[in-house]
């Protein structure tokens, strides 16, 4: 199936308020899904006989923010965070990219982690990928069975790959800067 057909199938099933858009021009064409709906959409993407996207190649997160005041004027994006799911179907031999876009902080209050439903019960590999996204980007995957840091130490403060992350002054007595 082409990305257009996959998109059409999703819209027929979930409607346009859950499947919010498609970008066919990109090198990796993507479909945009509303954050709250990603759980059920993921179930469908894997379980549906036509789609059968049984393999999650990659789950990653990106932070869109320009902290430099001068450059921010020309920054072409609204500040936001994305989670990107790269999917492949071994049976149907097609692929799809799903994106979920949301505010950098929940309710725009700094420090409140944004929430996205987990897909770890659909694709098992998402378990560790989501832990990494949580560790680095501070995204709360609701319903994840074990959402703890995977790379940084448990008592690490902040989420290092966020654009506005501040480096630690010291960590356990070791000077940082």
């Amino acid at each position: 199936m082409t990305i257009q057909e996959i998109y059409q199938r999703l819209v027929d099933r979930f409607g346009a308020d859950k499947i919010t858009g498609i970008n066919e021009k990109a090198t990796d064409p993507w479909i945009e899904v509303a954050p709250a709906a990603i759980g059920e959409v993921a179930q469908f993407l894997k379980g549906d006989d036509q789609l059968a996207l049984d393999s999650l190649n990659n789950l990653s997160a990106t932070d869109f923010l320009e902290t430099d005041a001068k450059l921010a004027a020309k920054f072409p994006y609204q500040p936001h965070t994305e989670v990107v799911y790269h999917l492949y179907s071994f049976r149907r031999k097609h692929r799809a990219v799903i994106k979920v876009k949301f505010d950098r902080w929940k309710n725009n209050e700094a420090g409140q982690l944004p929430e996205v439903p987990t897909v770890s019960h659909v694709w098992g590999i998402a378990d560790w990928h989501e832990r990494e996204a949580y560790d680095m980007m501070g995204i709360h995957f609701v319903g994840h069975p074990n959402l703890v840091r995977i790379l940084c130490p448990d008592d690490w403060e902040g989420y290092p790959l966020r654009k506005d992350y501040e480096f630690p002054e010291e960590y356990h007595g070791v000077r940082g800067q």
């Binding site: 290092p160 992350y165 480096f167 630690p168 960590y171 356990h172 070791v174 000077r175 940082g176 800067q177």
Partner: protein, 183 residues
């Protein structure tokens, strides 16, 4: 032992205790087996047959800090690892020496600016005797660093009230005693 055969009459050889001890120590610096990142590959190369760190008596990589004299910190020290490095250092018996190998260990190296997780120099964690720069340093450079450790051991004095002088590396490759500055 061909180089020493036939050199002496059947006799007693005299030397100072200091020299004999230093000679024994400098010829058996046992490093600890651990590498933290890419520099460890060069360290392994230094241990393998082409460069052969065993020529200096330092090829017996020990798997426990209790048997090691030398800690070659080869690679990027992260904050998470720093406390472990410190503990390993403390577990080593005296006298112990530390080589900081590579740009990362000396001062953060390529991760100085954007490495949120990298300690900016292992000397913030353990005292360092010899710094070996490079990214990664060639095995020859590590051997050079080892020789500087040997120089340091050679300058050890055990006599009562004797002042120890740290040798200064010279561009000729040999170490010399420091000049006395009259003040």
């Amino acid at each position: 032992m061909t180089w020493i055969e036939g050199r002496f009459e059947e006799n007693v050889v005299t030397t100072t205790l200091e020299q004999a001890m230093n000679w024994a120590k400098q010829s058996s610096i046992w490093p600890m087996t651990f590498g933290l990142a890419c520099c460890a590959i060069e360290m392994m190369a230094a241990g393998a047959s082409r460069f052969d760190i065993d020529r200096f008596g330092a090829g017996a990589f020990r798997a426990t800090p209790r048997q090691a004299d030398l800690m070659i910190v080869a690679g990027t020290v992260t904050y998470k690892m720093a406390s472990r490095v410190r503990r390993l250092y403390e577990q080593m018996p005296d006298p112990k020496y530390v080589i900081a190998m590579g740009a990362c260990t000396i001062g953060g190296g390529p991760y100085f600016k954007h490495g949120y997780h990298v300690v900016k120099g292992v000397d913030l964690v353990v005292p360092v005797d010899v710094y070996v720069p490079g990214c990664p340093p060639r095995p020859e450079a590590l051997l050079e660093g080892l020789m500087r450790i040997q120089d340091k051991i050679k300058s050890k004095r055990i006599g009562k009230g004797v002042r120890e002088l740290l040798p200064v590396p010279h561009h000729s490759g040999y170490a010399q005693s420091p000049e006395h500055i009259q003040g």
